[in-house]
Symmetry: C2
């Protein structure tokens, strides 16, 4: 493993952390050493990585001192506590949480959209919210070609966005429903089996949820488009994995669906799946375990002059979290930015 | 039952027909006689209505001659065949199918929106598509107050929109998934368990589905708003009953969320459920078996100057079909229009 870096994964036992280990192996990430940390109660636990056995450590100053780069797959409050410890020990943090995304000095990066921002880091780079990453990959090529002025987006978000516990709650809720009863929801606000819930994260003062406002503020920051006007409705649906989004876009310059389709077909990280006559369009059930953002149902927005409508689906645990973070790390390594 | 009319229900054994019988009993519809017809293979079958037993008949000229009004709950092609037979026998048709909705001489009616159009009938009145009815009830009060210029809507539609077979297919698909396999979909284009499918009805030349275009053309006709610009994305979700819709509205005159909330609270057929701080908003699981359209998440569309966003859910078998048809019949009876 010479020529690589010393990489740490913080939160390695969680849903996103586990996915990170899987993807690091798949992509043959250039590693000198791979260190893993998790909840102190899990210290000493063994994790498999390729043909190795890794021992879960506690994320201490000594731990970070051994790492060049750390991928953080933990809750915001833990990121807030541990990121300064990593940075003091000269370990670059790539954080998957909401803790630092909107801080001015922190690049917020989707490598297909704004890789150059990685170069501006001051020891910490943030990876955006899952719904935001998926939308940004899909719309950026259209923004580059035609200048997006306004977006209206409705999401159809999988339960795994709420981690392993969200997956379990859907399974238990479906079983209870089949038995004629209901479970008391814990992860979600209401029963998720055979239901949809227009409520993800907390409500803000403007009656949008934080999830919806992340799609506004983070998209603008990633795309360097402070003037872009965005309104979102974020909805949880009884799907295990992969988020879907119905996206209506208004552009400054007219763009036809054919032009948009061509541009998207040649854009990084995107698979265009758009043969409606053959019943081909993106769906969450068939996009799980992929790193691509699938785009289809590309058509003129018939309610406005310069408008395009897209339907997008992507694995939010991978491209929406783990893969995006690792892509940032790959750029860091290949450009010697750690 | 004196003072009532002779009413026929065509398609009385189907999902919507059965719901019609239930609602006619609940609302104590003014009946002289209730006649029921269905597929000729079901002739002679017995159906319960209040304390009576009704015998399924064949929809012949003699059958229609005994009825003042017939509620049609059958497929479009059957409506096309039987409606002329009813009309020739002086039986007013109230049709729930897509067969006649856009014909110029046929009033297309949501009683909360355009009841006066019932008076213009020439023997046939059409009830709109389920998603359209639900949206029209929710947005009409805002249109009256502020003039709607544009709508972007994304739907979350229940499997019962595809009838009893759609319900069965979801149940079977979920069971198969739990057993680690998949069923071959018949009603839907793809597996519906733990998936969402952006495809309802057939695709039109403009790459919108017919379901999506119904929401455009029917809404304009019901609301007498030929200039209203509408774009829809219609999506099937693994929910048994009640459709949900995320609706973004642009108005000619500015309207605040508070004004919209007040107007909607006082509008017919609407229940405003909008206390996000208490996790109260419409959801399909809790709106089934109601005749009301539930509206919540009322907020400013932050992506446009004069915009309002709504989240709506309603039982599409009832208000979206059976109830709407019966409300039209009630108006016909109370205004002596048969």
């Amino acid at each position: 493993m010479s020529g690589g870096i010393n990489l740490a994964v913080i939160g390695a036992t969680g849903a996103v952390g586990q996915e990170m280990l899987k993807i690091l192996a798949e992509r043959n990430f250039p590693l000198k050493n791979l260190l893993v940390a998790a909840d102190p109660r899990e210290t000493g636990q063994k994790l498999k990585f390729k043909d190795q056995e890794l021992t879960v450590q506690t994320a201490s100053p000594e731990f970070f001192a051994q790492a060049d780069v750390a991928l953080f797959a933990v809750e915001s409050n833990i990121s807030r506590n541990l990121a300064p410890v990593a940075m003091e020990n000269k370990c670059l943090v790539i954080d998957n949480s909401n803790a630092f995304r909107m801080e001015e000095k922190v690049p917020l990066v989707v490598p297909e959209v704004n890789p150059e921002d990685i170069k501006l880091h001051q020891g910490l780079i943030a990876s955006p919210n899952c719904s935001t990453i998926i939308m940004a990959v899909a719309i950026n090529p259209i923004h580059q070609a035609a200048g997006i002025e306004r977006i209206v987006v409705s999401t159809y978000q999988a339960v795994s966005g709420a981690g392993a516990a969200g997956i379990d709650e859907l399974t238990e809720a479906v079983a209870a429903y089949q038995g004629g009863s209901n479970i008391e929801p814990i992860i979600f606000q209401h029963p998720i089996a055979f239901n949809v819930i227009p409520h993800i994260d907390v409500f803000e003062a403007n009656d949008y949820t934080r999830e919806e406002m992340k799609m506004v503020f983070e998209t603008r920051k990633i795309m360097h488009a402070d003037e872009m006007r965005i309104a979102a409705t974020a909805v949880r649906v009884p799907v295990y994995r992969s988020h879907s989004e119905a996206i209506s876009i208004e552009t400054r310059i007219p763009i036809t669906p054919e032009e948009a389709r061509n541009i998207l077909q040649n854009a990084p990280g995107i698979v265009v799946l758009d043969q409606p006559g053959e019943n081909k369009y993106p769906m969450p059930l068939f996009t799980a375990d992929s790193d691509d953002v699938f785009v289809g149902r590309i058509r003129k927005d018939i309610s406005v002059d310069n408008g395009i409508v897209l339907w997008v689906a992507a694995d939010q645990v991978r491209k929406g979290a783990a893969t995006n973070t690792i892509q940032i790390a790959e750029y860091v390594v290949s450009h010697n930015l750690f």
